[in-house]
Structures are given as C-alpha cells and as structure tokens.
Amino acid sequence: MTVQLTHFSAAFVFALFASIVFGITHRETTRDMIRYGLYCFGMFLGGVLVAGWAMWLIRR
C-alpha cells in the first residue's frame, strides 16, 4: 500500500506530529505544552509558506 502526498500535505502532517512531540517534551504543564505545540505548528507551516513565496519571487 502506497501513499501519495502533495508537498503541502506532507509538510502539514510533518508539522502536526513534530509539534505534538515538541510540545510534550519541551514544556512542563499541559497548558504550556498546548501553547508551545501550537506555536511550533504555526512556525513550521508559516516557514513553509514563507519559503514557498520566497522561492516564487526568486524565480521571477
């Protein structure tokens, strides 16, 4: 069985699961874990979008 993900969906899945692990392992309280996980998720996906647009601009 094979899975075909687009670049964005692969980045989304990666960001989601990596953020969960980062949140759990890098913070002490549940509230801080959730906040840090959301922050990491935003930074991962934001980084993808910024890098994508930067490459689009460089190509022009």
Partner: protein, 140 residues
Amino acid sequence: MANSTQLKTKPATETTQRAAMMAIVAPALGWLIPGAGHMIQKRWIRGALLLVSIGTLFVLGLMMQGHIYRANGGDILDILGFIGDLGAGGMYIVTLALNGGQGAIAFAIADYGTKFMIVAGLLNFIAIADAYHIAIGKKQ
C-alpha cells in the same frame, strides 16, 4: 534506636532504587516502543500522543516508499540516516526483519518518506530523553 533508624531508611532506599531502576527501564522501553517510557510512569495521555505521532510518521514514511538505512560505514549522510532511523527502535527492527524500506529514492514523495522515518527516530530520541527526565524527577 537502631531498629527505628532502619525502618526510616528502608523505604527511602527502596524509593531511590526504584527511581534508579526507572531511569534505565523507561528510556529503554521508550526506545523500543515510542511513548512506552511515559506510559510506564503513568503519563498515559502523553505516552499515547507520542506513540501515535512518532508511529504515524514512521508508518507514513514507509507507505511513501521511503528508504530505510542499515548500519554502514560509508557516506556520512548514510551514517546519519542510520542513526536517525535507529531512534525508532522497535519499528526500525521490525521493518528490517520484514525487509521493508528497500525503495530506491527515485521520486520526491519517496524522499519525503525517507525523511519522515529519520525524523520519527530523532523525535523518539527526544521522547526518550523526556522519559528519563521524568524518571529522575527533573520533570513532572
């Protein structure tokens, strides 16, 4: 007097021994099964989330026909890939035993899959360190 001192120190010694044992068992179990190092210390939800997150990344990597690295002494990137994959512990061993992850990285998705499996292993290393910190009382 001596008896009362013995009674006081015995439970403390047992607790210390148990903590020392847990500091070895939790990381080892966490390496073998992601999240198990947390679960054995009764952090059920954290353990389950780690298992699902790391497990899903690794399995998705395999399903994307990612390549799994074996022990090698060649290219530095291959060695680093092996170290990353090794972090997945039991999943890595089972995959090798079933002869999985043999795909050649011929297209982008397979490359993503390869990276997914390496990152799953590296994330498990972080989870192992976290389980150890809980065991020694550095973290709740």
